[in-house]
Each structure stands twice: as structure tokens, then as C-alpha cells.
Amino acid sequence: MSEQVPPGLPEPSASGGSATATKREEKTEASRRSFGSIVRESILEGNSVTVIFLAILTAIVIGGLLNAFTNTKVLHAWGNLFSAPGAAIAQAWDTAIGAYVALFEGSIFNPHTVAALFQQASFSTAVHDGFLAAVFNPLSETCVQATPLLLAGLAVALPYQAGMFNIGAQSQFIGGAILGTYLGYGVSLPPVIHVIVCALGGFVGGAVLGWVVGELKARTGAHEVITTIMLNYIMAYLLSFLLGNVMQRPGRSDLISPVIAGDAHLWHLFGSTLRINAGFLIALACAFGLWWLLYRTTTGFEFRAIGKNPSAARVAGMNVERSWVLVMLIAGGLAGLAGSGVIQGTESSLNFQTYGTFGFDAITVALLGLGRPLGVVLASLLFGAFHAGAPLMQSQTNTSVEIVQVLEALIVMFVAAPPLIRAIYRLRAARAAGVAGLTGKGLA
């Protein structure tokens, strides 16, 4: 990725000394802000890359322990602790490691597939029979899972940069999925055009919902957290109504839409056996585009200034209300694109399983990514890997898939509480910064 943090932006630093300065500044700032923004700031800006890394590590360790001590074999071995202490510990270790190995094999690389590839008589038959594809299948799945998380994560990250909290990626996702699906089966168009029209339809479907939220905030002051949560309900029920009526697949009694036309599908990147498709590239392009918008354009300068200090932005002549609307419109569009991308990329039709909880996972992805485009890319790949590896982990080691959600929750929890991580690992920054905060005026 050519993405990097631009020089103009204060980078949360990893080293002890200058972390103090960052923290000090944040404290004096915090004292003049609302409770909501303090919470948001402390989650998103009290973190250095070190803390994030340690949060992930800690979550993995705790997840392993949890996994080990809920396994029946381990519990049984633990019952014989005094007769065979080694066995209990070994069993616990094996269970925890086994689950993570399976998770890794399901999401990144599985050595067995390579072994299988080399056992084939010739390379060309191996490729033809799909053995090569099997090697890359885990990575492909990770990208497929990461695509909607990335787009929806950007839909949360952008409003954050502009000082807003978008809880409504879920509703915007559904909005995009509805319009994208309808355009997929309801109209017939030439091949390439159909793909583009569907994707644009997804963007528009989400953008309309985002626009409503922005417009309500700009005109009436309605808080976006409230309106987005309400819209999540509205869209979920609207979807259920549509799937039971106008969008129901003919001949079905359950809630499912017709299948979209073949030429509305996003192109596969590496042959039809791997599910990875152009949606992943579109998502990466959106992340890059958002970075460019935020850090290289006057519009992004306005967004960020409004996010950090709306009153100073107003005094500087910026149109705060118009920016709110524009931010929510773009954010909604990105989430909507995630919605139509799932349909066009892998699912082909819309039902209650297709949209899952991408809109809510997006919030955790944006938090973990510190609200920045590159961070969101990395966070969505991590969570995408978790989602991709979970089924293999369950089938191979009999570990329940929910452990993945526990991992995600733990990571976000630790990221949300940097002092906890600092205390566990005795990072020096915590103490100095704490004192600076206490003195009110900082050290100056």
C-alpha cells in the first residue's frame, strides 16, 4: 500500500518520552469537551501501535486459556491433576495451540494442501484438479471476509474523523444490499454495465440513509447516534417486509430474494474456484480514496478540522452543517457498497443470513483501526482472517466458532482500555501521563 500517515497529522507515538507529550495535550483538550467525545478520544487516540499489538496478543492468550479450560478433555485431565499433573497441562496446551493452528490454517496457509499439491503426478493436472487453488483458498477466504468489514469499517472511520459516531453502518449496509440486489435481478443490462450499475445502486442505497442522518443532524440537531440506531431497526424490518412481499423469490415461502443475474456478479480474480473477487480491490481502492480525501484535499481538511474542533472550524469560515451531511452521505455510500458487494461477490441473493452483523463488526474494526484508513485495512484483514478460519477450527478441533467472537471482543476491550494494557505490561508512559493529567495544567 502506498498509504502512510501524512506529516501534518500528530501520530500517536509508541515511545515513552513523547507519548507523554501526546497524552498531556490530549488531557488539556479533554477537559473542555463533552463526555461522549472524551470516551471516543480515549478509545481511539489514547492508543499507540504498541498498545494495539499488545491488546491483540493478550486477547489471544486469554482466548487460548478460555478455550483450553472449556474443553471437556482438558477438564477431564484436570480432574486427574494430582495423579498426572503433566497430562493436564499438556492437554490444555495442546487444545489451545491446536485451535489456533487450525485457525491459522483456515485463514492464511495450510501445509497439508501443499503436501497434497506435490503428491500429484504432474503440475498441470494438479492445477486442473484444483489442488493449487486449495493452497490459496484460505487467503482468498480471508480477503472475501475482510471486504465488507473494510468497506463498512471505513463507513464508521470517516464520520469519526469528522467528529461523529456512525452506529448505522448496519442499516446503510442493508439499504445498499436491497438496492443492489434489486438492480441485480430486476433489470437486464449489458455485462460490464450491469456490474457497475449494481455497485452504484448499492452506494446510493446506503448514501440515502446516511444523508438522512446527516440532514437531520444539520437541520434539527438530532444526534447521529440516536438516529442511526433507530434506522438500524427500521431497515431490518423494512428488509423483512420486502423479502416477504415484493422482493420474495417466486415459488419460495421463506424470506429470500431472487438470484441476481449472472452478469451482475463481480469478477473473480483468480479463477472460479477461489471466491476472492473484484470487491476486495474496490474496497482497497476505497480505503486509498478515503485516505486521499482526508489528508490531501480541502474537503478532508474541513472534515478533520470540524471533527477536532467544530467551533474553530466555524470561525474559520467552514460550513459545518454541510460537511456533516456530506460525511454521512459518503459513509452511508461506503456501507451500502459493502452491502451490494456481498451480494454481487459471493451470495447472489439477499436473505437474513447474507447481511449478518457486518455493520456492527464494522464499529469494532474502525475502533481497532484507530479510525484511519490504513488501520481499518489492517483491522479488517485481521477480523476477516478470524472469520475465515473459524469453520476449519470448529471442524478440526471441535472448538466452537464463538471463540472467535470472544477474541474480537477481548481485543476491542483491551484497545478500549489502554491503561489496562499499560499496567499489565508496565509501560512507562502510563505513569508519567497520569501525573500530567492530574495536575490539570500539564507540565508547561
Binding site: G8, R32, F301, A444
Partner: protein, 519 residues
């Protein structure tokens, strides 16, 4: 109680905030700590109050060495502190705030609210504090909130009371009340440590003045020391408290405000049919006690607040309905009253703050593309030109001192093409060196033919800068005066009485003299 600090040293990394500081406070004495922002006054008091641990040195109480690990220890030893930013719970009553952390328990096991109220009343009476124990803190003006903080300390039997920049948030009248209270405390045997960077106040209230500079004691002075002497000690060189300037040469009317009325959302009228004009090359000083509509007037001038009636014209062009952007583009340079809230984006770099209201114009952008190179070179140039003390142009502006923040704002506003400069409280909270810098720049603007409107509640500043003085009271101008007007007359105008002064310089055009420097 005799308090003594011996060789206190406190370091933050490579920065020495306090360098072997000796200080002794006798009982019943008001001891002032005078120094610029960043001189180490607050750090020293945080050490004394147990918020910070000194790296070297010791604290002696009545000759006994003590160690404070937390404010709790300090309070137990009889030290009370009133912070610059109050530590009160807004939704609690005065009595509840006072008792918080030291709750009196009734034999029944419940809170003894009656005793708390009685304590407050008793102390109020003894020191003339006049606070209603049942009032909610959020309903009280700042001056009274400060009294609550003082009562909080006294209830805990403080015999040394530290006041950190106590007058920064007070109106002149409230400051006088505070001084009365301090004198009463002193008579009752309490020692007061008074931290400030305001020379006049320190001279008025202190028995002994200790001057700090760059973390070290420069020396002790009696309050009879002259202002120049103290200022020189503070900044380490001679400072001109009076701005030297030539007589104004007013040109054409640039800013023309006619019959302006501004109300807030609740319909309260803040600016009531105000009319004034500012000419090119003159400084109009708008004096008045804070809260008489100055803030609203400035916001209306920039277009941040709707105008109920009247007109604002700039060089004859009507801007009454213009957006802030249109007014900035028309040539208004604006230095807001609250620089951190309205003037700067604290988390943004110095460079970004330098273009906060010109980012959308060449050379900083074309179309929607930002030109990072132009932004950086602009910042480098302005940092040098305005002597902004910052590690680099990429440093977040929120970490700079107040004076340097104000320089960033000035650099930005004066760097744009402008015809009128509206500066509200341009030197509030700044140290002497920065005040001098800001004043010189403002006079320079006037000499270049800019029309300047200074809104200030500091009369010293008005006298130092203004070529013409207007006094604002309850949304109206109670009179225009030349800068030679005696303080007493301004005081009357500020209190609302329209003195039919013989010296009324009603026709601003006729006024050419103007530049006398009385103080």
C-alpha cells in the same frame, strides 16, 4: 504555621521545571509567586500540594520535614489549594460540594447535612464570603464558585491557602471582592500563596513577592517595587509596558456598524442598536466590563450570530447577511476571544492552523487538492516572522504556550489580505513578553492602514493601544472618548452612566490628536 521549601527540584525528562527553589511563607502573610506562563509556578505548587513528588529538596512545616505523597497528606497538614480550573460538582449544592470527601456523619448513620450547611454559613460570615449553602454550584457565577473552593479549603482547616491564577477568570469587581477576602483571611492568621503573572494585582495584594523565571527563583521583592522592575525580573530584560506609537492618521471609514441589534436564541438582546465606525489607520478600543455584549458583537461582526436589525458595511459593501467565509474573504481578520475554543484546532499542527481559514485558496490548494509543500513553506516562513517558539511546524498547536498560540493566530490572520482587524481580548492570559509582541504587531497593522477594533476588558490595554475609546455597557455604547480621558470617567461610563462629558469626541472624523499615552 511556618512553611518552608528548600531546594525543590523537579524535572520532566530533560526539562527542569523547578530548579533548587527556596521559598518561605510566614503565618498571616500573602506571598505572591510571580512569573510568566511556564516559569514553573504551578509545578512548584503541585509539588507542595502532593500532586507531584520533588526529585530533590524538602518541605518544612514549622521546621519539621514532611513528605506529601498525595493531596490527602497535604490537606491533613493544613495546606489548601484552589486550582485555576475549579474542582466542583456542578449539580451539587454548595454545602454538598464543601462536605464532599469529608462527609459529616450524623449519629443516625446518615449524612449530617445540617452541620455542613452550618459550617458553610459560619465560615461565610467569619470571612465575609457571602455564599448561600443551598445554591446549586452550576447556577453560581465564577467568582462565587471560587469562594466555594476557598470555603472547601477552610473547612479542612487549611492554614496555608494556595490560589493558582485566581483572577484569570474574574471580572474586575470580583477581583476586588477576592482581594477583600484574602485580606480577611490574612487577618485571621491564614497564609496565602498567590500565584499570578499580573503585576498590578501582585503589587496590590502581596506582602512579599517571589519572582520565578525558567523554573528558578530570580529574587524576592517587596510590593513597593515598581512595575518595570518586576516585569524586568520576570522576563529577564526591560519591557516596555507602554506601546510607543505615532499619532494616528485616520483615513476613510472602513468598518461601518449602524444601529446593530443582536439577540441570542432565547430572545435576550445582547447588542442593542449599536453604531460606530472604524477608519483606516486608527485603533478603536472598545472598553467595558465583560458580559456587556462584547462577545456577541464580535460574533455578529464575523457572521457567527444572526443579526436582528441594523447593518454592517465594509468599505461601503453591505455584509450584514454574509456568511463567515464571505466576510473573511471580504477582508476581515479576526482574533477570537477564546483562542483555544474558537481560534485553533488544538490537535492540528502549527502548519495546519496557520492555514485554517485560507486552506481553500491558492497557493495552499487548487480545486480540492491541498498543496502540502506550500503549506509547509508558509508555516516555516510565518513561524520565523512571528517568532513562534515551537519544536517544529508539525507540533500540535495545543502543546504550545498561550503566547505562542496567540502568535499562530496572529500570523494566520495578518498573513491574509485584510482591511479590518477585529481582535477580542488579544492578550488575555499572556505573559508580559507576548503582550508586548502582540501590541507592537497591532500598532504596526494600524500604521499600514488597517482599521483596527480592539475589544478588551483590560483598561491598561485600551489605554496602551486605542486612538479612540468607546465604552460598552449593556449592549450600547455609553460614550466615545479620546485616550486622554481619566480612568474615573471611563469607570463611570463602564458602569452605565452616560456622562455628558465636555470632552465627548462625538465626531470621530474630527479627531486627529488621539495618540496620547496616559496610564
Amino acid at each position: 504555621m511556618e512553611l518552608e521549601l528548600k531546594g525543590i527540584t523537579k524535572r520532566f525528562g530533560s526539562l527542569v521545571a523547578n530548579d533548587r527553589i527556596d521559598l518561605s511563607v510566614s503565618p498571616g502573610q500573602v506571598h505572591a509567586l510571580l512569573g510568566e506562563n511556564g516559569a514553573g509556578k504551578t509545578t512548584l505548587m503541585n509539588v507542595l500540594y502532593g500532586l507531584l513528588q520533588p526529585d530533590e529538596g524538602e518541605i518544612l512545616l514549622d521546621g519539621r520535614s514532611v513528605q506529601f505523597h498525595s493531596p490527602k497528606d497535604a490537606i491533613a497538614a493544613g495546606i489548601g489549594m484552589v486550582h485555576q480550573h475549579f474542582m466542583l460538582v456542578p449539580v451539587f449544592t454548595v454545602a454538598e460540594n464543601v462536605t464532599l470527601g469529608k462527609e459529616e456523619i450524623h449519629p443516625s448513620g446518615l449524612l449530617d447535612r445540617r452541620k455542613a450547611r452550618r459550617d458553610v454559613r459560619e465560615l461565610s460570615k467569619r470571612y465575609g464570603l457571602e455564599v448561600d449553602p443551598d445554591a446549586l454550584v452550576e447556577d453560581l457565577p465564577v467568582g462565587i464558585q471560587q469562594r466555594v473552593e476557598i470555603i472547601k479549603a477552610l473547612v479542612r482547616d487549611a492554614s496555608v491557602l494556595i490560589l493558582d491564577e485566581p483572577t484569570a477568570v474574574l471580572t474586575p469587581a470580583e477581583t476586588n471582592d477576592l482581594f477583600r477576602i484574602i485580606r480577611q483571611l490574612k487577618d485571621g492568621g491564614t497564609s496565602v500563596v498567590f500565584i499570578s503573572h499580573k503585576l498590578k494585582e501582585v503589587q496590590a495584594i502581596a506582602d512579599t513577592i517571589t519572582v520565578l523565571r525558567r523554573g528558578a527563583v530570580v529574587g524576592d521583592k517587596p510590593p513597593s517595587a515598581t512595575e518595570d522592575e518586576l516585569a524586568a525580573m520576570m522576563v529577564g530584560r526591560n519591557v516596555q509596558l507602554v506601546v510607543s506609537k505615532d499619532a494616528a492618521r485616520p483615513g476613510d471609514v472602513v468598518l461601518d456598524v449602524e444601529d446593530l441589534t443582536v439577540a441570542d436564541e432565547t430572545g435576550r438582546v445582547w447588542v442593542n442598536g449599536m453604531s460606530f465606525q472604524v477608519r483606516a489607520g486608527e485603533i478603536l478600543g472598545l472598553a467595558g466590563v465583560q458580559g456587556n455584549g462584547q462577545t456577541e458583537l464580535c460574533e455578529a461582526l464575523l457572521g457567527l450570530r444572526p443579526i436582528a436589525s441594523g447593518h454592517i458595511r465594509l468599505n461601503g459593501r453591505d455584509l450584514t447577511r454574509g456568511t463567515p467565509r464571505q466576510r473573511l474573504n471580504a477582508g476581515v481578520a479576526y482574533v477570537p476571544e477564546d483562542r483555544q475554543e474558537d481560534g485553533l484546532v488544538g490537535a492540528f499542527s502549527v502548519a495546519d492552523n496557520m492555514i485554517l481559514d485560507s486552506y481553500d485558496r491558492p497557493p495552499f490548494s487548487s480545486g480540492i487538492n491541498l498543496h502540502l509543500g506550500a503549506i509547509a513553506s508558509n508555516a516555516a516562513m510565518r513561524v520565523q516572522e512571528f517568532d513562534v517558539r515551537t519544536q517544529s511546524a508539525d507540533t500540535p498547536v495545543g502543546t504550545l504556550s498561550g503566547g505562542n498560540q496567540q502568535k499562530v493566530i496572529l500570523a494566520r490572520e495578518l498573513g491574509r489580505e485584510h482591511k479590518v482587524l477585529v481582535a477580542s481580548q488579544p492578550t488575555r492570559g499572556l505573559d508580559v513578553g507576548s503582550i508586548e509582541f502582540v501590541h507592537r504587531r497591532i500598532v504596526q497593522q494600524r500604521d499600514h492602514g488597517v482599521a483596527v477594533l480592539i475589544v478588551s476588558s483590560e483598561l491598561d490595554e485600551i489605554y496602551a493601544l486605542a486612538d479612540r475609546i468607546a465604552v460598552m455597557y449593556e449592549g450600547r455604547i455609553t460614550g466615545f472618548r479620546p485616550p486622554s480621558v481619566p480612568v474615573e470617567e471611563l469607570g463611570l461610563l463602564m458602569a452605565g452612566s452616560e456622562v455628558p462629558g465636555a470632552a465627548e469626541a462625538e465626531a470621530p472624523a474630527a479627531e486627529q490628536s488621539g495618540a496620547g499615552e496616559s496610564s
